[in-house]
Symmetry: D2
Subunit: 162 residues, 4 copies
């Protein structure tokens, strides 16, 4: 069972630019994390964009949806900025019903010692292998249904709507 991984950036992939003191995107850390986790699940990784999810355009959102629709794999993990993860999940759910799609990300960049990214990726890969068709957000160890989740901006934690 091959899993398709789509990278879109987000906090997950931010690095520190020592020349100006800002966080920026250089490369994805996906391969590095998969190796660290000693992953053997067959995966095919495509980096679609490297952006802050707050800056995602309509075109970029459409690209994610169409790539998820068109790829051969039925099981997909998307790494995504946490701020608009729920919006992308909603758009995917409207259009795609016969695949298992799991969005995940990180609250703290991988390059920080204290990042949650490796845990979240392990979590998302397991959910992608086991959950039935649907669109989910894997954060904080849980899999939320796309229509019952939001990021609490005060705590940085994901929670159910009801």
């Amino acid at each position: 069972m091959m899993i398709r991984i789509f990278g879109t950036g987000g906090t997950f992939d931010k690095e520190y630019n020592m020349l100006n003191g800002r966080l920026y995107f250089k490369d994805t850390h996906m391969q590095e994390l998969l190796e660290k986790g000693r992953n053997l699940v067959p995966v095919a990784t495509s980096i679609l964009m490297m952006i802050d999810s707050l800056e995602m355009t309509q075109e970029q959102l459409s690209l994610i949806v169409s790539r998820c629709e068109q790829c051969e794999e039925e099981r997909i993990v998307i790494t995504h900025g946490t701020d608009t993860m729920d919006q992308t999940a909603r758009m995917l759910a409207k259009r795609i019903t016969h695949k298992t799609i799991v969005l995940t990300g990180a609250m703290i960049p991988i390059k920080f010692g204290s990042s949650d990214g490796l845990f979240n990726l392990g979590n998302a890969l397991a959910f992608a292998q086991t959950l039935p068709y649907g669109v989910y957000i894997a954060m904080n160890g849980r899999a939320f249904n796309w229509d019952n989740v939001r990021k609490n901006k005060q705590t940085g934690l994901f929670e159910e709507l009801r």
Copy 2:
């Protein structure tokens, strides 16, 4: 859905003793990892022992089995040394049929920068939430059935028997 976590030691929890240059067990790193992963899945953690799995006695193995039988929770994650993980899984499967039990561990201690432990824990927690009753080993991103898995001693990777 509360998940029971039983800690038994293994590479996962090994630390470096700077006075004699050996690896040893001091404390579990479970709480630290759950916090790093920003886990919100309700968990109840019990440390049953802190040992190298090659040194597990029959009494200790029995303790693990009876604790898994007796605990209220139906979903259980066990952190365990990788060398005899498959043997403990087999013993559990013989005795317990109405619970989902996921054994996981690490090939590299948590205290090393390159540990696979955080990935494996995220993975195991997701499998414990989603898989049907049964006993599984979550390593290398996959969930193996207890009766179709072994650790390849040459590569340090888990693989199916057939």
Copy 3:
């Protein structure tokens, strides 16, 4: 020989705020680094401010100078943002001639795995113990005299003026 350490912030002490994705100052990491380095040199640490050196006011600069003048210790290490480290060094050199003062900092925050901060602190503490009276900048493994150093903004490296 007691060494006085003055903390003023800088990249050294920046942390990641996961709620807004920005870098900020929470606490100093001085004690953590001294413990990591297993330091036994007697030190007395005072945090004077926690700021980006580009935002240092005239009052704050004066505070640093007066604290260096007034403290009992003859040997001082100052952690400081790298952008205006040379300016603070110049001001100190104008006013203080009978002490050994070593400014250091980091190009990458301590909280990133790849930080240079621990190396720089070990370096600065050694220079503070051995160099004659004067004001120095300890970066990139070297001790620069206050009147012959600048930060190259293109490379992020410190270099001599002539």
Copy 4:
């Protein structure tokens, strides 16, 4: 001013062998540490051996001494296991009087997140640049004279004899 660095192994360079759970020597981490510290001091590095200092033979000790004698550089840093660091220092001091030689090492391997190695290397490089001719041990932030130092086996800290 070029500094010669001789690597001999020690805890500094130990890695974790995941196949047998033992610590071993694979490669030196010297280059990695110099890059992390963003070092610009000109250095020439030679790895003489990769051993536990408790297993150093008379021949290996002689090799270290003769390489220190014969190298062009007047300033030398040696990374060395901490257990017999003082013995090697004594042998060097008997034979070499016109160079500044600084031995350093680590109590915790570089590959552990909590290693003191990066701090010690920054420290040793500064001492090697500033101290007069002599043989020193740079540990715990201090430079000890070769004839007034021992490792306290109970605490793992270096201390003066008198």
